[in-house]
Every structure is written in structure tokens, then in C-alpha cells.
């Protein structure tokens, strides 16, 4: 594939590449990656980017815990996940580089462009750290290239902290032959509110980075670009969810700051008033749920946004919403738990608490978008379900979707998404607040302001007039009707699509954000002749129909999830004591099928290669090739 270029540069044609830029926090890695990713997308590449962010704002520099950065996977075809190890990295110092090495983030033959000033630094301690880091990383076959990033940046600006990122961007532009005019436009856009000189200096740094790479590097990579035929947008999952919220007609978002959900409210805060709505930053997570519920009670479309610890706090209010049948949309951007856990990192461990986390029987709808595009549409879907079924709808995304950036086809908006949430026409004579259709449990919602509809909603057991009622019949009927709605909703769903053959040896079942990585792993296994298929669930409560029948067509079924499960063979862990991954628990109970699981909770998205290895391991344990 290699072909020589004019000046002894080897150009390697590749279908895709994964690049990471790693810096101290505060050195602009995100901006560099954002412009690079946007440029790749505009040129017609598929792109997926992932932020590497410490939980602290700006921890001490030049340490393994200060690493901030971004991984950009881009290729000729659509990219659905962050992929496996990085092939090229730009590191601003040896310590942040070492932190990535220790995480196994680099391909064995990774090319690492590293700041050159540390090796012979005047401070002996820094030289020593450098030498130790390089010794540790020598276990791999990395190709280190020393680059005077700081010295080159100082030629243009006084403070290299604000400039090295653009020099790095220039090197990437040269290595991957990116279109400079697109980069220039991006820079001008980002700094549009600053003096023109800022844009000029940044562009100059990019050009210098390109020139340095041209003169000093002997390689380039060629990734074919296919300009898209449709209009594409590129954003992260939190931005998509926020735009989905306004597209869904949500006019109240009550929230309390929590990572990694907060950026949904940042986006909403900047735009929602243009759509007749407001963001209410409440005094706590509980109040955020209460304000959203109060607004919905008043007939507005309301949302509360949170992450795991916030979900725990909102629990009592969710029970009240369910009991009073007031529609409420809750977005839970999952992070690692329990307790404060891994605030900035991904986990899929709120599934069971989302479905069952309540005293009493409290049926609710839980949906899990599988891609950034679905983060947008799920908000529209959630609103519609919440209102139709007078219920709570929890949308479970995660830190992978929240901060991952991907392009997708621009949605076509529908004015019907914005319809008034409440029927304000006069009430029929004798209509009760819970006039349940005995078949479906559905009933018309009566909101304050409607003449003749006065009643008091209550979290206490109540009859169909919403009168407090402790008698056995009322309570049984209320439970039955609230539960019935879920069955009715389930009857509107289609069975999940199978990716791969409709029958075979192994079915991998995933949910939510892991779709891209699982399908990539399954493709690889199928390429080697394994009879493996996968299906990715998005409706978690109620579950999509037909699962038991689908599972019966495979010799083995295994879930793949980003959460904890025991490994049989570990001390005390047997088939009897083993605790399963959360989806596996759910599907075992739901289908009575002996479903296995492979889960992992490393605080980062699953890699296709790790999933592939789990498929191979499972296959060796009894699934024929």
C-alpha cells in the first residue's frame, strides 16, 4: 500500500486511523481535536471523537494524573465507536504519554510525536522522570519522534500554553493532508468574538506545524474522503439530547449541576428561551425533579437531567410522578458508580435502578439511545410516550455518548413534535381524574385551569376520583392500571433487529451506547467464520417483544455491557454466587433463558477488540466455529 511521495515521504493508504492528542489539562487538546475532527467530517470522513478528561479542573501539570486529551478515530466509512488502540499520538510531555501507555491506549507500533524539551531539561528531577518514563514505555515498539513543539510555538506567541495545540493541529493537517482552508474557517469561527489577530496567530501556528512536519517527517497517511450527499451535522450526545429536547417541545428543564450530564443544560441554557422555555437550576437534585413535576402538572412539557447520584436523590419524586400519572421525562447520563464513583467516565450501571429503583410497584418506561443521533430522537420519543401513557420515561445515555462526537444526517423536524401537551377542550360530564380505560389503563389528563376538573392529586393510594382510598380494591386496581400501560406500550413495539444471521451459535445482546463497538467485533468474528450475530436493545422497560423466540434460535446468548459482573472461578464465585451484568439479570428473569454475560467496567468505552476476544473465549467454551 505504501507509495513514495516527492521528497522521500512514504504515504501509507489506510481505511481509517485513530489519533490522540494528549496534554496537561488547560493546554487546549479539546480545541485542537474539535477542529481536526470537524475538518475530517467536512472533508467527508466518518469521525468519532472521545474526550480524555480528569475529574479535576486543572490538576498539577506534568503528572500522570493531569492527562487531558482527545482521541479522534476517522476513516473513509462511517465510524460508530472509538475503536481500538491509537496509531498516532501527539504528547506534550512524557508523563501524560506514560499515563496513556499504562492504560494500553497505544498500538504496539504507535508513532508518538513528543515534546523534545524534557529530555535535556535543566531540572534534574524532570530529566529523571523523563528517563524513567521512556524506560517504562520501551517495552513497546513505539516510534518516538522528538518535536520542539514549545520552541516552535514560542516563535509565534509569548505563552506556549496557548498555542502548542495549534502547532500540533498543523502537524496533523500535514500528516493526513487536511484541507487548510477548512481549518482556517474553523479557527475563525471559534475565535469570532476575539480580535482578528487571535485568528491570525492561530492560523500561523497551524501553518508552522504543517511546515515543520513537511520538513522533518518521512511519513504521511492517506485516508480517502467521500464527500457526503446529504446534509450532515456533527455534535456530541449531550448536545444532541439538548437539541432533541427543544425539538420535542420541552419548555421546562429543571436541573442541578452534575457530571457528565451538565453540558446538556449548558446547551439548553443558551438556546431554550428562544423556544419559549426555561432552564431552572434548582437548589438540589430533588428540587429539580419537583420543579419539573410541578411544571408538568401545570401542563408544560418538562424534563429533568441528571446522572447516577442525582437519580438516587430524585427517586421519591419519580414514585410520586408514577403514582399521580403526571408525565415526566428524565435524562440520566450514566457514569461510573456506586456513590460518587467515576464522575467523568462511562458505565452502564443504572439500568436496574432505573427500572426497579423504587419502593412499591412503580412501572416506568426506560429507553437507551444507541447512538448520538438517537440521543436527539429519543427526547422526542420520550415526550410522546410520557404524555400518551401519563408516565415517567427515563432516557439512559452515558458518558460515552455524552462526550463522544459523531456526525449524522441532519434530522427533518416535524411541527407535530411541538403540539400542545394537554387537551384543553371542555371536560365531558362526570370525567374522573383517573378515568382508566379498563383495557389499557389510559386516561385523559386533567390539568389545573380546566373548568370543572378540580381534584387533588396525591401520592397516597387513591380511587379514580383521586380521593385518598386505602381499600383493597382501589389499591389493586391502581397497581393494575399503572402496570397495564406498560404492556399496552410494549404492544406498539417491534422485535429488535438482528445484525448478522437470524440464527446461529452465539447471539451477543447489548444495549445503548455499545452498539457500534459490538457490531464491529461481531463483523470481525463473522469474518473468521464464527456464527455470531448481535442485537442491540433500546427499549429496556418494557423490553422489546419476541426476545425469547429470538434467543431460541441461538445456541448461546451473551450480553455485553459496561458494568460489573462476577467471574466464575474467582474466590467464592460459583454459578450459585455469581452476580451477572445488569442486562443479563433482566433478560434471564424475563425469558428464563440461561443467558451469559461478558462485562467490563474500566471507566472507558468498550473496545471492539476486547468484545471480539470475549466472543472468541465464549466460542471456545462450546460454541462451534
Amino acid at each position: 500500500m505504501d507509495r513514495p511521495a516527492s521528497n522521500n515521504v512514504t504515504v501509507t493508504v489506510v481505511p481509517e486511523h485513530t489519533v490522540e492528542i494528549i496534554t496537561n489539562s488547560g493546554e487546549g487538546a479539546q480545541k485542537c481535536a474539535q477542529i481536526f475532527g470537524q475538518t475530517c467530517a467536512k472533508m467527508g470522513n466518518g469521525v468519532w471523537t472521545v474526550e480524555i478528561i480528569p475529574a479535576e479542573i486543572e490538576p498539577p501539570h506534568h503528572t500522570v494524573t493531569s492527562t487531558s486529551g482527545n482521541i479522534i478515530r476517522f476513516g473513509t466509512e462511517k465510524i460508530t465507536n472509538w475503536g481500538d488502540q491509537s496509531k498516532l499520538a501527539i504528547a506534550f510531555n512524557d508523563q501524560v504519554c506514560l499515563s496513556r501507555h499504562r492504560l494500553g491506549s497505544f498500538d504496539d507500533n504507535c508513532i508518538i510525536l513528543q515534546e523534545s524539551s524534557w529530555e535535556n531539561h535543566e531540572d534534574e528531577a524532570i530529566r529523571k522522570l523523563y528517563a524513567e518514563a521512556m524506560e517504562e514505555m520501551s517495552s513497546k515498539n513505539y516510534r518516538f519522534i522528538q518535536v520542539p513543539i514549545e520552541a516552535e510555538t514560542l516563535k509565534v506567541v509569548d505563552n506556549p500554553q496557548h498555542g502548542k495545540n495549534m502547532f500540533a493541529l498543523g502537524m496533523l493537517a500535514e500528516i493526513y493532508q487536511r484541507d487548510l482552508s477548512i481549518i482556517e474557517k474553523q479557527i475563525a469561527h471559534i475565535f469570532q468574538k476575539k480580535p482578528a489577530k487571535v485568528t491570525d496567530l492561530n492560523v500561523q501556528l497551524v501553518k508552522n506545524g504543517m511546515a515543520w512536519a513537511r520538513e522533518n517527517l518521512d511519513f504521511q497517511f492517506d485516508i480517502e474522503t467521500i464527500p457526503p450527499e446529504d446534509i450532515r451535522v456533527v455534535m456530541n450526545g449531550n448536545q444532541a439530547a439538548a437539541l432533541g429536547a427543544v425539538a420535542a417541545g420541552i419548555e421546562m428543564c429543571a436541573m442541578y449541576p452534575i457530571t457528565p450530564a451538565t453540558s446538556v443544560s449548558h446547551e439548553l441554557a443558551s438556546i431554550i428561551e428562544n423556544y419559549g422555555g426555561i432552564i431552572h437550576q434548582a437548589e438540589d437534585e430533588i428540587a429539580a425533579a419537583g420543579v419539573a413535576l410541578g411544571a408538568s402538572y401545570g401542563g408544560k412539557v418538562a424534563l429533568t437531567v441528571t446522572s447516577g447520584p442525582g437519580m438516587a436523590l430524585k427517586t421519591e419524586f419519580l414514585g410520586l410522578a408514577i403514582m399521580t400519572e403526571i408525565p415526566l421525562v428524565v435524562l440520566d447520563v450514566q457514569r461510573g458508580g456506586p456513590s460518587t464513583g467515576l464522575p467523568t467516565k462511562v458505565e452502564q450501571s443504572d439500568l436496574l435502578s432505573s427500572i426497579f429503583g423504587q419502593h412499591g410497584d412503580a412501572p416506568r418506561v426506560v429507553i437507551a439511545p444507541r447512538s448520538i443521533e438517537e440521543c436527539f430522537h429519543s427526547m422526542v420519543t420520550a415526550r410522546r410516550i410520557a404524555e400518551t401513557f401519563r408516565c415517567v420515561v427515563i432516557v439512559l445515555t452515558d458518558a460515552n455518548l455524552a462526550t463522544g462526537v459523531q456526525q449524522f444526517t441532519k434530522p427533518e423536524f416535524d411541527a407535530r413534535w411541538q403540539q400542545e401537551p394537554v387537551d384543553f377542550s371542555p371536560l365531558p360530564e362526570g370525567l374522573r381524574p383517573y378515568d382508566w380505560d379498563p383495557e389499557t389503563g389510559l386516561s385523559r389528563r386533567i390539568v389545573p385551569g380546566t373548568p370543572g376538573g378540580q381534584h387533588t392529586v396525591t401520592g397516597l393510594a387513591h380511587d379514580q376520583w383521586s380521593n385518598v382510598s386505602y381499600d383493597p380494591e382501589s389499591n389493586e386496581l391502581g397497581c393494575k392500571m399503572r402496570s397495564r400501560k406498560l404492556a399496552v406500550f410494549q404492544s406498539t413495539l417491534m422485535p429488535p433487529e438482528i445484525y448478522g444471521d437470524q440464527e446461529g451459535d452465539l447471539l451477543v445482546v447489548g444495549w445503548g451506547s455499545t452498539q457500534g463497538a459490538i457490531e464491529e467485533a461481531v463483523d470481525r468474528a463473522r469474518g473468521e467464520g464464527l456464527k455470531v450475530s448481535t442485537c442491540q436493545l433500546t427499549f429496556m422497560s418494557p423490553l422489546e417483544p419476541g426476545l425469547k423466540e429470538i434467543f431460541s434460535r441461538f445456541k448461546k446468548v451473551m450480553t455485553v455491557e459496561i458494568n460489573y459482573s462476577d467471574t466464575v472461578g474467582d474466590p467464592y464465585i460459583t454459578e450459585e454466587t455469581r452476580r451477572y451484568g445488569q442486562l443479563a439479570w433482566l433478560l434471564r428473569a424475563h425469558t428464563l433463558v440461561d443467558i451469559d454475560c461478558w462485562t467490563s467496567c474500566p471507566g472507558q468505552p468498550l473496545r471492539p477488540n476486547d468484545i471480539y476476544n470475549s466472543i472468541i473465549a465464549k466460542s471456545e467454551k462450546g460454541v462451534s466455529k
Partner: protein, 317 residues
């Protein structure tokens, strides 16, 4: 948020609804005989009738506890919520529907204990609503446990040797919050004063906080007895701009002229425990009102779609 659809506004009528006080009672209150909550309900009914409020245009929001059953007994929309959380619900409702009259009814455990965080912040939001703290100095519905306002030394099932801490004073606490705009105290055994206080609270544009001292015949039958028996232990705060009930001059000899604009004096009076003080401690209508400062003009669905198209242009590649 944007206001409610036109279809509903068209229903609004300025004419009196022709309801009398008893028409605002949906059903008999199920409180114990002698409970002060009955008196509060009567005062509120009279207020609603005097303003001819349409039952569908108001909502009573409560938490959990004896007093929080209040909405079940009023001919209006009601939201009997969860313990301590009436204020967030009421805030959301008022933001959604500023044209509704919103009343909040809480007990002392509800407001000053489990819901204390919301109480402070709702005071600061200063959302336009009438807020009644029915303070009987005890947990009643759960049967006789010490509340934050239980007097020091008073025994209960959870403090059989007497409450060990000084009681929390809801007036002091509320007056200490930035943007508090209306703070008053009244008592269920002085119905004329309570009614005048309700009128002033309802008229106030902002978060009108009334602490109503309320007798519990079961668990704190004696905490207010001395005050009920001997009016000389009570001082009325009076002022041309305060709460002035007719006919109380003869009953209460101790009266103090207090300008409700004087916050320092209000705080000072709330702190003094030499006498029981009823009246308007503080009122200022110049403070920002949350539902007003957060009001947003409505946007049509078509306009929203157009704006959304532009929004996505920011992300176009």
C-alpha cells in the same frame, strides 16, 4: 416559560363566580376535634370567597403531614405531594402557569425539617405564591415526635426527657434569607388577625410566607395555652402599611408600631422572645419575583422549527 394556550385564556371571566365561603369546601376536614387546622381552612375559604376566585384557577400544594391534607378539603385543584417537597412542586407549577393562584400549605416538620433546603431557596426565588406554615410545634401524623420548632424541654415520643435544643424560629430563618419579601406571623386562635394576614399575603406580589401558630389538641395541647388565655402576653405589630384587623384593639393591649419595610427591626423583633408577636414583620415588593423575571414570550411551533433549522446549521459539516 411561555404562557398558556389562547383556548384557555378565552375562558377567563372577570365576573364574580357567585361562590360563598362554604362553597370552597370540598369535604369535611378529617382533623382531630379542636385542631387549629379547621380555623385556617375557614380563614382561607373566606379569603377565596372575598376575592371570588374561580376554583379551577387556583391550586393548593402541600407536602405530607396533618396540615398537608388541606388540599383535599378545598374546592380547587390540589397537589398533595411528598414530605417536605411542596415548594419545588409549587415553584414548577407557578413557572408553568403564572396565571394560576398558587397556595402552599406545610407543617413545621414538612417545611422546617425535611424540606428546610427548599424553604430557604423558595424564599429567595420569591415566586409569587401564598405560603402557609401551620406550626403546631410537633409531628402529629406520625404521632408525637419532636420537630425543629418544639420548645426546648418539651417531651415527645422521641425526646421523652424533653427536647434538648432550643427551638428553630421560622421567622428568624426566613428573615435571614436574601430576597425574602413577605414574612408574617399569626395564630389560629385570633381568626380576625389570621384573616387580615391572609388578605395581605394574597395581595402581595411575591413569596408571601405566613407562620400560623396552630394548636394540636393531641400532642401539644399546652404550648400555646398561656397565650390563648392571656392576651397580654401577645404584642401586635401594627402599622398603616401592616396587618390591621378591626376589633383587636380592645383584646390586645400590647401593640407596637412596626414599619414592615424595616428589615433590621423585623429581624430584631423576631429574635426577641419576651412576648409573642403577631403581625407583618417584613414586606418589600421591590424584590425580583422569580416567575416574572423568568417569563419568556411564547414561540409558535412553526417558528420553533425555523429556529431549530438554524440551530443545526451551527453543527453542519
Amino acid at each position: 416559560m411561555s404562557s398558556i394556550p389562547l383556548s384557555l385564556l378565552e375562558l377567563e371571566e372577570d365576573v364574580a363566580c357567585g361562590l360563598e365561603a362554604d362553597d370552597y369546601q370540598k369535604r369535611e376536614g378529617k382533623w382531630c376535634a379542636g385542631c387549629g387546622d379547621f380555623g385556617v381552612l375557614n380563614g382561607v375559604k373566606r379569603l377565596l370567597a372575598s376575592h371570588q376566585l374561580r376554583p379551577e384557577k387556583m391550586a393548593f400544594v402541600s407536602g405530607i403531614g396533618c396540615s398537608s391534607r388541606f388540599p383535599h378539603y378545598v374546592n380547587a385543584y390540589g397537589f398533595h405531594g411528598i414530605h417536605g417537597r411542596a415548594l419545588p412542586i409549587a415553584t414548577g407549577l407557578k413557572l408553568a402557569r403564572p396565571e394560576l393562584d398558587v397556595f402552599v400549605v406545610m407543617g413545621d416538620g414538612d417545611c422546617t425539617s425535611i424540606g428546610a433546603g427548599h424553604w430557604i431557596h423558595a424564599t429567595r426565588y420569591n415566586t409569587n405564591m401564598t405560603v402557609l406554615l401551620l406550626d403546631n410545634n410537633i409531628y402529629g401524623l406520625t404521632k408525637n415526635q419532636t420537630s425543629p420548632t418544639t420548645p426546648q424541654g418539651y417531651s415527645s415520643n422521641t425526646s421523652p426527657r424533653g427536647s434538648v435544643l432550643p427551638a428553630l424560629d421560622p421567622l428568624q430563618a426566613t428573615l435571614g434569607v436574601s430576597n425574602a419579601s413577605f414574612v408574617a406571623q399569626t395564630a389560629d386562635w385570633v381568626p380576625a388577625h389570621m384573616y387580615a394576614t391572609l388578605e395581605a399575603a394574597y395581595a402581595h406580589n411575591g413569596f408571601s410566607f405566613i407562620r400560623i401558630l396552630q394548636r394540636c389538641p393531641k400532642f401539644t395541647p399546652d404550648v400555646f395555652t398561656e397565650n390563648v388565655k392571656n392576651p397580654d402576653l401577645t404584642e401586635l405589630l401594627v402599622h398603616d402599611n401592616g396587618v390591621n384587623a378591626p376589633g383587636l384593639d380592645r383584646l390586645f393591649k400590647a401593640q407596637r408600631v412596626h414599619d414592615p419595610k424595616d428589615l433590621d427591626e423585623a429581624r430584631s423583633l423576631a429574635q426577641r422572645k419576651d412576648m409573642l408577636r403577631l403581625g407583618l414583620f417584613f414586606r418589600d415588593e421591590s424584590f425580583p419575583v422569580y416567575d416574572e423575571v423568568r417569563a419568556v414570550p411564547p414561540v409558535s411551533p412553526e417558528e420553533k422549527i425555523q429556529r431549530l433549522e438554524k440551530e443545526f446549521d451551527r453543527y453542519a459539516v
